[in-house]
Symmetry: C2
């Protein structure tokens, strides 16, 4: 919400663009399309702004422009049609709900070029993917965003959120400016315990720690791929850095519509998740996982073994 409001304040424009299906929190504009279904999502050329919460103002929906992931031609046409009104393109470089695959490099570069050319901002949501490399997931690409939203791990276990960005853009929140374009303060701001715990976590989460958790994810992905091959199940695993997600689909999805789980897939997924639960692994309903520095190979191998057992059961 803060990053979007900063982008609006900087550009004076009302609309945001976002990738279909991507999760960016509960803010009305950010959550649009996150739970779109085949019967509601509309044409590929113009995805519908599908609400999540019931009762969201129709006027808010009309201020959100939805683009398909990894589809430059369609995204360009949709963005161009709204170009004078778009404050920012909001992008998670590896969106969990869109399949948890790193965005294709040319798609990311296109969004960087389009926003620069049309005086909109590129806002990266790195709440999850900040952990991917020492410089965050943007280290995978040759771009720099205008604003970055962060959260989760940077608070060291405490509720936290942060916005970083170009000096000129951050200036909209400068409390000492003659005219503060986006006044930003509140009870949550600069909580001393959160700031201290976050600082210590960030000092500890150094290159070595990142290599360690990324190696755990690589080990898991390799093991899962082997388990898929050995059981002969139609499944795949996606991910990057220290996170991964198991799909009960033959091919890794390129976008939200491909990542969407049909009721039939979902029934099999429930069997898998229940099996994992019985084996001692409580997974999120997408069967995704995030590695922690406290984990060791033993836990990863046990998870892979449990997944293999679940694959065999479904098969």
């Amino acid at each position: 919400m803060g990053a979007i409001k900063a982008a609006r304040a900087f550009t004076g424009r009302p609309k945001i663009a976002k990738v279909e299906g991507a999760y960016h929190g509960l803010y009305d504009y950010a959550e649009v399309s996150q739970t779109a279904k085949p019967e509601s999502w509309g044409k590929k050329d113009k995805p519908t702004s599908v609400p999540v919460a019931h009762g969201i103002p129709a006027k808010a929906l009309s201020d959100v422009v939805v683009i398909p992931f990894n589809d430059i031609e369609r995204a360009r046409a949709i963005l161009d049609a709204n170009k004078d009104e778009i404050a920012c393109v909001l992008l998670d470089l590896m969106p969990h709900r869109v399949g948890l695959r790193p965005a294709e490099a040319d798609f990311v570069e296109f969004l960087r070029e389009w926003t620069t050319k049309d005086d909109a901002l590129l806002v990266l949501d790195k709440v999850i993917t900040f952990r991917s490399t020492y410089g965050g997931a943007q280290g995978w690409y040759n771009i720099a965003p205008d604003l970055t939203a962060m959260g989760k791990m940077i608070g060291g276990g405490f509720p936290v959120g942060a916005i970083a960005g170009r000096k000129e853009v951050m200036e909209v929140m400068n409390p000492l400016a003659d005219k503060v374009l986006f006044p930003h303060s509140g009870t949550f701001s600069a909580n001393p315990v959160t700031m201290t715990a976050g600082l210590v976590s960030m000092i500890d989460f150094d290159e070595e720690a990142i290599d360690q958790v990324n190696a755990l994810a690589t080990r898991a992905i390799d093991g899962i791929n082997e388990a898929i091959a050995e059981t002969g199940i139609k499944a795949c695993v996606t991910g990057g850095g220290s996170v991964f997600r198991v799909h009960l689909k033959e091919h890794p999805p390129h976008n939200y519509r491909e990542a969407y789980t049909t009721p039939e897939e979902n029934a099999r997924l429930v069997v898998l998740l229940d099996h994992l639960f019985d084996e001692g692994f409580l997974m999120i309903n997408t069967c995704a996982a995030v590695m922690a520095t406290s984990l060791r190979n033993t836990e990863i191998d046990a998870l892979v073994a449990a997944l293999k057992g679940g694959f065999a059961k479904i098969k």
Copy 2:
């Protein structure tokens, strides 16, 4: 934001109504009119939806209905004109920015009746005023809200927010419902440290503790009134429970427009605040104060003495 989204989900209506000038956080709809000025606030009969952040969508502004505080006739006419579209009336019973005076009982009762009659919800923002009595500021009135938003003190020093309300309304967030009208989850939800610290704080903040901090505020208010009389300055003090605010105005304000500080008043206020700072008291720019259980009469008397010195300086 959560309470407003819950009200929209429950009623299926897009608009909210709020008191002119009241602060309810950074959510676009909630912050409207908070910083309205004489040149922008429009007629008393129809206060303008004045934006706070630059770039807020005009469509969002048009979904906010602004009513004057403590003015039943005008509020009724404004609400009636939007009655089929209002999801909730959002109300702080003693809004800081509106003058920090408890709302008049007949105004509160009118809003409770109007919302009930017109199938809208009454949402109380008790983020600050929860501390006023053991049951919160609503203990001053003969009403019950549909939803209550809380924060600050209930987290025991950690970032926190909570929504409480009628069972039927809270059902919109029930994750086990067949259709969840307002899906509500996130990294901030149920943080174990915040929940533990908040519980301990709430156990400690019993009737005795509330009486203690309320007595401190009463002592401060009495002392400030005496200092005003003795120095002969045009000033007054408002408040209730354990909070108070000093105004450099002869009469206590009834609404935001009366509470608004003119540039001339503001210049005198800066002199007062600078004097307080030199005396060791760092006050918010409205010269309001909130009592803590760690305070004793000594600190209150020192603050009153420092205020008296500041009054004399201005005079």
